[in-house]
Amino acid sequence: MMLARVADSLYWIGRYVERAEHMCRLSDVMLNATLDRSEAATQVARIALAAVGDPDLAKAHNPYDAAQALALDREDDGSIYSSIARARENARQVRDQITTETWERLNLIYLRMSGPEAAKAFADGSQLFLHDTIADLHLFKGAGDATMSHGEGWSFLLLGVYLERAQLIGSLLEVAFGEGRKRRPISDHFALTSVLRMGCALEPYLRVYTAEMQRRYILKFLMLDEDFPRSIRFCTQEIETHLTAITRHAGISGPAGPDRIAGRLRARLQYADMAELEAQGATAFLKTVLEECSTIHRALYDAFVAYPLEDRLPA
């Protein structure tokens, strides 16, 4: 049992923290690509910008400014700063529910990003800055994992993390490999490696598929791998696990309960066949996955957070 408002905040902490981490990685890969003044570098920057949802792809010609704005722009709701600030604001609202160890990590990241030294630190070493932020976000998750009770609240936080991750990876794959776009498909080795880096998947990928960079394998790995924590399939497994735990706890279940929708999505990914998927087209498949994620989000709200009071009043 926990307050509905608290569950909501924990869920959003998970989402914002995951979003911030993903944005850091995209910026980092984008900056890394600028070191290499090839056409592929511009292509990588364009993928990164499209994946963060920036409509102005002309910025791809000046990746440093784009990365700096993405990191520190306070006016932009989509910046890393904004995600961190919101995660921290949510944490402050449920300060009694998270352990001091966990809070300290998040507060530290926020203080560094909001302090007067942030812009200078970014200018002095932007990749180091992003790298440190990612490392601190890992520490935050680790501190939570090691010190918080793995009960209902933790499940809500992780639901936020995995739903956000599934959607972010889904959007990245759609941008990089979707059909029906004007761009020609990515085949360049450097660009393919960069996509894997954006999904923090390069090293795990190499262990499975070796250094053979193939668009098909990458798609398969990031979508359907059973063990890689950033594959969409893995995310849906986690979403199902945590939703089942919460639903069991609440004693509510119905034909349209969020746990069932999650189970259906997990099964779809678990039994997906790559050949079939390619025949259908990756775009259509990813679109379905992203829609299902939104449905789970809404079902979660209807069941646990914004339920109608009349149904729950004592007789």
């Binding site: 049992m1 307050l3 408002r5 300060r95 009694d96 809070w103 530290l108 509510i252 009043l313 004592p314």
Partner: protein
């Protein structure tokens, strides 16, 4: 309180120094700290001060300053040098605080039922019944153990004579206890050796004692009551404290929007539906508890909450209407209130107070405006106040007019010399004025935590300890039996 104002002029008495005797000898209970300080260079001390500030910042023990362009979070300055109180002095403070709270709760129970004390003419009837903090709605409402004020944070000061006196009783929603606990956590790190050797009494049980106090308020009708902390929300300046206490008690921290009142029962919205609440430790002012009963425009409480309280289905702590007992005019009668209910002499004295509603006292106040501090009865936080010695002639004239026009609105007190304690200012140890805010809990029984928030006026010579006006705080070490007592 006195009928005839005395004409004694405030002699420029030297303020009491917590560490040094008048002939500059270190008092025995400060000897260990003094010896430790002698071994540390200004640079080392400054480094420790920075470590402490970082600790507060990391913990998020901050308050928000809203500016025109952006808002920033600041820490409340915390001085690393502890203020030390020997056990015998503390024993007297503790006994005095218990006596005082017991009398004030009895007073509240009386004025909200039989009003015997008003009928006996000990306290003027209109003074109580016309006070803005008097809540008619509380009349004849059953309050378990007659514990109206469950959490009290009195402000004490040490007079030049060395005697502690009560400056103010805070019986509404006193705050500061989280700073007491955070200062302790910090000072244990800064002076571990000195702390260990001193025999400092532990304050760690405060959250535990608070919880059992709150539970005792519903114990006779619910075996294991559900306690919650009600906060106005994250934008309240004391939000850190609300979250801190909720976390350490293991009680949910709720906001008004989490509450639902149905059939005179109070529930909170949880992930598994509605859950009944038995005790609300509210950190929301009376006016905002229930828009149906008090202020209509408030969304900080819950509609129908007060009726649920009246029906006996939930307990609100502190009870609404306790403010009438810490009213500045009623304050002057507290010694009489203690004598009336307990038949005892007050252990802790009041500060001499002139009630302008009494003509004889008014004329004394008007004649001595340049020496007195005049306070508006209903105001708090330093508003509506005249500090005579520091005021201009025009300001005094303005107040004289206000006093004559509306005498019952004002009280006056002599300018009080707060005691001084050593503080670290820019790496140097210097005396600064301090007060003392201990915390008293009252449910089935009264408990005083052996510690306090010592507030510090960080500006040299300043007597204002409020955090909004350049004040800070420091840890307070209450020594255990036989430690640090004279002789």
């Amino acid at each position: 309180m006195r009928d005839e104002p005395t004409a004694e002029a405030e002699s420029p008495l030297r303020p009491y120094d917590e560490m040094l005797t008048p002939d500059s000898q270190v008092r025995p209970h400060y000897a260990a700290l003094d010896a430790r300080l002698a071994t540390l260079s200004p640079a080392e001390l400054a480094e420790r001060q920075r470590t402490q500030e970082r600790f507060f910042l990391l913990q998020g023990i901050t308050f928000t300053v809203y500016g025109a362009e952006s808002s920033t979070e600041r820490i409340i300055p915390s001085d690393i040098l502890p203020r030390i109180i020997p056990s015998a002095e503390w024993a007297r403070i503790e006994a005095g605080l218990k006596q005082r709270l017991q009398a004030l709760n009895t007073f509240l129970a009386d004025i909200y039922s039989e009003q015997q004390i008003l009928m006996d003419g000990v306290v003027p009837r209109e003074l109580v019944l016309q006070a803005p903090s008097y809540r008619r709605e509380m009349q004849n409402l059953y309050v378990p153990h007659k514990a109206y004020a469950n959490v009290c944070g009195s402000d004490l000061i040490r007079q030049p004579s060395g005697e502690f006196a009560v400056l103010e009783d805070n019986l509404r929603v006193p705050s500061g206890v989280s700073y007491m606990l955070a200062n302790r956590e910090a000072s244990r790190r800064v002076f571990p050796g000195t702390f260990r050797g001193a025999g400092v009494r532990s304050i760690d049980r405060y959250p535990d004692l608070l919880l059992s106090t709150l539970k005792s308020m519903a114990a006779d009708w619910r075996p294991n009551p559900q306690v919650v902390v009600l906060t106005p929300g994250v934008y309240n300046s004391a939000y850190y404290e609300h979250a801190y206490l909720a976390r350490l008690m293991g009680a949910p921290l709720v906001e008004g929007r989490d509450l639902v009142v149905h059939d005179n029962m109070v529930y909170m919205r949880t992930t598994t539906g509605l859950r009944r609440i038995d005790v609300i430790y509210r950190r929301v002012d009376d006016d905002f508890i229930d828009p149906l009963t008090f202020r209509r425009d408030s969304s900080l409480g819950a509609a129908g909450l007060f009726n649920a309280y009246r029906a006996g289905n939930v307990v609100i702590c502190n009870a609404p209407g306790t403010g009438v007992a810490d009213d500045k005019a009623v304050y002057a009668y507290v010694p009489e209130i203690i004598r009336y209910y307990l038949g005892e002499e007050p252990i802790l004295p009041n500060i001499e107070t002139f009630l302008c509603r009494e003509p004889a006292q008014l004329s004394h106040v008007l004649a001595n405006l340049d020496k007195l501090v005049v306070k508006a009865v209903g105001a708090s936080g330093g508003y509506g106040m005249l500090v005579g010695p520091h005021a201009t002639r025009a300001q005094r004239a303005e107040f004289a007019d206000a006093l004559t026009a509306n005498p019952e609105n004002y009280i006056a007190q002599p300018t009080i010399q707060l005691s001084t304690a050593p503080c670290l200012i820019d790496g140097e140890v210097e005396p600064r004025h301090v007060d003392l805010r201990p915390f008293i809990l009252c449910g089935e029984k009264i408990v005083v935590t052996p510690g306090a928030l010592t507030r510090v006026a960080l500006k040299k010579g300043s007597l204002v300890v409020n955090s909004s006006q350049g004040g800070g705080s420091k840890d307070t070490w209450v020594l255990s039996d036989g430690k640090g007592d004279r002789g």
